[in-house]
C-alpha cells in the first residue's frame, strides 16, 4: 500500500534499467576502480607487480568471507559463525604438517570439510530446528572459537613453503588471489542462474510465496549455510598461506568487516537482493580504502571514521536507488 502515493510515470521508463543497475555489481565495481585510480595517482609504486600481488593477497580472505556470508544474507538469514570458522580452519591448517602441492590440496580438502561441516550444523539448527539465525550462529561461532583454542592455544604453527609462496604468487603474470576472486565471480554468475541460485533469491524475496511455489525453503536455507561455510574455510586457508602462520583469534577481525563488505556491495540485509560478485568487490573496496587512506596520509587512527561513514552511505545509496525504482512503478 502506498503511503505517499507518488503519482509519477516519469520513472517508469527508467525503472527496469535502474533495477538492473541496482542488482548488478556495476556500481561497487565502479567505485572500486575509481578508488584504484586515486590510489595509483597518489602512489605510482602501487602498480608494481609486487604491490598488486600483495594488495590482492591482503584482500582475498575478506573477499571470500564476504562472498560466503552473502549466500546466507541473500536468503534472508544471518551468519555470525564466519569468525569462528575462520579461526578454526586457520589453526587446523597451521598445525597439520602436509608439504608440497599434494599436501596443500589435502589441507584444502580438510579445510572445506570443516567449513561445510560447521555450515551444515548451522543449517540444521536454523532450517531444521527453526532457531533464529543470529542467535544460533552466535553460539556456533563461540563453539568454533573454543575449538580453535583447543587446536592451537596461541598464535604460531607452521605453514608449508608451497602454500606460503606458491599460493601467494602469480600464475601467468596474474596474482593467484585474483584468479581465485575471478573464479568466485564466475561461479556465482553460473550459480545464480541455476535453479538453486534462483531459489536462493526467491526465498529471500518472499519466503511464503517461495514455499507456495514449490521451493523447498528449509533445504535452500540449509545449503546457503553450507556454501557459506565452504567460502569461510577457503578464506581461512588463504589467510594461513598469506600470513604463513595460524592464530586462534584469526577470525575475530572478520566478524564485523565481513558484514561491512556485504553492505558496501549493496546486498540487502533481509534478503532477496544483491550478489556475491558485489560482495567480492565490496570487500576489495574496503581493503583498498585502507591503502588509499594511508597513501593520502590519513592517520591510521581515524580510518575507522571514514570506513563507518562509507558503510552508512553505501546502505543509504542502495536504499535510495530502491526507492527510485519503487516510486517509478506507481500507477
Amino acid at each position: 500500500m502506498s503511503d505517499t502515493g507518488i503519482s509519477s510515470s516519469s520513472f517508469a521508463a527508467r525503472g527496469p534499467s535502474l533495477r538492473a543497475l541496482a542488482e548488478s555489481a556495476l556500481l561497487i565495481a565502479t567505485i572500486y576502480l575509481i578508488m584504484g585510480a586515486i590510489y595509483v595517482s597518489v602512489q605510482p609504486s602501487a602498480l608494481s607487480a609486487y604491490s598488486i600481488e600483495s594488495l590482492f593477497n591482503n584482500s582475498l580472505p575478506l573477499m571470500l568471507a564476504a562472498a560466503g556470508a552473502t549466500f546466507v544474507i541473500l536468503q534472508g538469514g544471518f551468519d555470525l559463525s564466519v569468525a569462528g570458522v575462520i579461526s578454526l580452519v586457520n589453526v587446523v591448517v597451521a598445525v597439520t604438517p602436509l608439504e608440497g602441492p599434494l599436501g596443500a590440496l589435502g589441507l584444502l580438502a580438510i579445510a572445506l570439510l570443516i567449513g561445510m561441516g560447521v555450515g551444515a550444523v548451522n543449517g540444521l539448527i536454523v532450517a531444521g530446528l527453526k532457531i533464529q539465525a543470529i542467535a544460533a550462529t552466535l553460539a556456533t561461532m563461540i563453539v568454533c572459537q573454543g575449538a580453535a583454542l583447543l587446536v592451537l592455544g596461541a598464535p604460531g604453527g607452521y605453514v608449508s613453503d608451497f602454500m606460503a609462496y606458491e599460493l601467494t604468487g602469480s600464475v601467468l603474470g596474474v596474482p593467484l588471489a585474483l584468479w581465485i576472486a575471478l573464479a568466485g565471480v564466475a561461479l556465482w554468475s553460473v550459480y545464480r542462474r541455476t535453479d538453486a541460485g534462483r531459489n536462493l533469491l526467491a526465498v529471500g524475496q518472499d519466503r511464503k510465496a517461495a514455499a507456495l511455489s514449490g521451493i523447498d525453503v528449509a533445504r535452500t536455507e540449509f545449503f546457503s549455510f553450507v556454501w557459506a561455510g565452504a567460502y569461510y574455510a577457503l578464506a581461512a586457508y588463504m589467510l594461513a598461506a598469506q600470513t604463513s602462520t595460524g592464530s586462534p583469534n584469526a577470525g575475530e577481525p572478520f566478524l564485523l568487516l565481513t558484514f561491512a563488505a556485504v553492505a558496501l556491495g549493496g546486498t540487502a540485509f533481509g534478503g532477496g537482493r544483491g550478489s556475491v560478485t558485489a560482495s567480492l568487490f565490496g570487500a576489495a573496496t574496503l581493503m583498498l580504502m585502507q591503502k588509499v587512506m594511508f597513501a593520502l596520509g590519513v592517520s591510521s587512527f581515524y580510518t575507522g571514521v571514514i570506513q563507518g561513514l562509507i558503510m552508512i552511505l553505501a546502505v543509504l545509496f542502495a536504499a535510495g536507488v530502491q526507492l527510485a525504482i519503487r516510486s517509478g512503478k506507481r500507477p
Binding site: G77, G146, L309, V315
Partner: protein
C-alpha cells in the same frame, strides 16, 4: 526469519477461543528456569570441590556479572524494539577512556564529568537510533558503523594509549563494602530494580514492548514509534558508557579493547534470558538471569582449571541449548502434554 510452512499463517480466524489464559507466560517460565539453573549450577559445583558453592563464590559471580548486566540492559531494550546494538563495545571503551582522561585521577568535577560522559554516549545512541528509524538503515549495519567510528575516535583521542586514572572516589567505591556486601553488588541490585520497573512496569517499557511487537500497529495506535526506538538506542549507549566508567574504576585504568569482552556476551545474556532476538518479547529479569548463568559457568569452569578452549566451547553450547530449550514450540508442546495428562 525462519518459519515452517505449517505455522506460516495460522488459522485465519478461529471460531472459538478454546484456549485458556495462561497463568504463566512462556517468558516467565524461561526466567524461572534460568534462575533455577544458576542455583543448581552453584550447588552442583560444591560437589566438585568444597571450595565452591560458598557465599564468597556467589559474591564473585555477582560482582563479575554486574558489568555484563549493566550493558545487557541496554542491549535488551534495543533487541526489544527489533534492533541490535553492536556499538556497545566501542561505547564501553569510550566511557572508560573519557572518564580516566577527564578525571585524571582526581575527584574534581566528578559530578559533572560523569553525567556529561553519559550524555555524550546517549547522544551517540541517538545517532544510531536516527539512522535506524528515519533512514531505515538495518540496525546491524548502523550500530556496527557507529561502533567503528567511535572506536576510531577513541583511538585517535588516545593516540593509541589511554592515559589517566579513574577518580579515587569511584575506585574506592568499587572496592567498598556496605553491610558486608561489596558496593558494586548494591549497585547491581539497585540497577536491576530500576531496570525491571522501567522495562516491565512503566509506561515507557509497555510502549517499547508494543513497538517491538508490531511497529506498524504501534504507529497507528498513536505511539511515536520512532522516538521510542531512538530512546532505546540512547539508553543502550548510556548503559554501555556507564559500564565503561565502572570498569575503568574497577581496573584502575582504561584500555582500548576493554569493551570487546562484553559485546557478544551482552547479546548472549539477552537471548539466553528468554527474549526473542526478533523483538517484542523479553524481560530484564531474564536477561539478568542470562548474565548470571553465563558468568557462573565461566567462574566454575575457570575455577576447575579447564582450559580456555573447552570453556569457550561450553559457553557456546550453553547458549545453543538455551536457544533450543526456550523455543516457544517446546512450551507449546509442554502445555499440550500437560493438558493431555489432565484429560487422561
Amino acid at each position: 526469519m525462519t518459519q515452517s510452512s505449517e505455522t506460516m499463517d495460522g488459522p485465519a480466524t478461529t471460531p472459538q477461543d478454546t484456549r485458556r489464559a495462561q497463568r504463566l507466560s512462556s517468558t516467565s517460565v524461561a526466567v524461572i528456569a534460568i534462575y533455577g539453573l544458576v542455583v543448581a549450577m552453584i550447588l552442583l559445583s560444591r560437589a566438585v570441590s568444597p571450595a565452591f558453592g560458598g557465599l564468597s563464590q556467589v559474591e564473585t559471580i555477582f560482582y563479575l556479572a554486574a558489568f555484563l548486566v549493566f550493558c545487557a540492559f541496554g542491549q535488551g531494550l534495543v533487541i526489544l524494539v527489533r534492533g541490535l546494538d553492536l556499538s556497545i563495545a566501542s561505547l564501553i571503551t569510550l566511557g572508560g577512556v573519557l572518564s580516566t582522561a577527564l578525571m585524571a585521577g582526581s575527584n574534581d568535577g566528578l559530578f559533572y564529568i560523569l553525567p556529561a560522559i553519559l550524555l555524550a554516549c546517549a547522544l551517540i545512541g541517538v545517532v544510531s537510533g536516527i539512522g535506524v528509524t528515519f533512514f531505515a538503515i538495518p540496525p546491524f549495519i548502523m550500530t556496527m558503523a557507529v561502533g567503528i567510528i567511535v572506536y576510531s575516535l577513541c583511538l585517535g583521542f588516545t593516540q593509541g594509549t589511554p592515559r589517566g586514572f579513574p577518580s579515587p572516589l569511584l575506585r574506592d567505591l568499587m572496592q567498598a563494602r556496605l553491610l558486608a556486601i561489596p558496593a558494586p553488588i548494591w549497585l547491581l541490585l539497585a540497577f536491576v530494580a530500576v531496570g525491571t520497573v522501567l522495562q516491565g512496569y512503566s509506561a515507557f517499557g509497555r510502549k517499547l514492548n508494543a513497538v517491538g511487537n508490531n511497529p506498524e500497529a504501534a504507529y497507528v495506535a498513536g505511539l511515536s514509534a520512532r522516538t521510542l526506538t531512538i530512546s532505546a538506542y540512547a539508553v543502550s549507549a548510556a548503559c554501555a558508557g556507564l559500564t565503561g566508567i565502572l570498569l575503568a574504576a574497577y581496573a584502575n585504568g582504561a584500555t582500548l579493547r576493554m569493551g570487546d569482552d562484553y559485546l557478544l556476551p551482552s547479546i548472549a545474556a539477552v537471548v539466553v534470558g528468554g527474549s526473542s532476538i526478533l523483538g517484542g518479547r523479553g524481560s530484564f529479569l531474564g536477561t539478568v538471569g542470562g548474565a548470571l548463568l553465563l558468568t557462573t559457568l565461566a567462574t566454575i569452569l575457570s575455577a576447575l582449571g579447564i582450559g580456555q578452549g573447552w570453556k569457550t566451547i561450553l559457553e557456546g553450547l550453553v547458549i545453543l541449548v538455551a536457544l533450543i530449550v526456550l523455543r516457544e514450540q517446546v512450551f507449546d508442546a509442554l502445555q499440550a502434554g500437560l493438558r493431555g495428562l489432565k484429560k487422561g
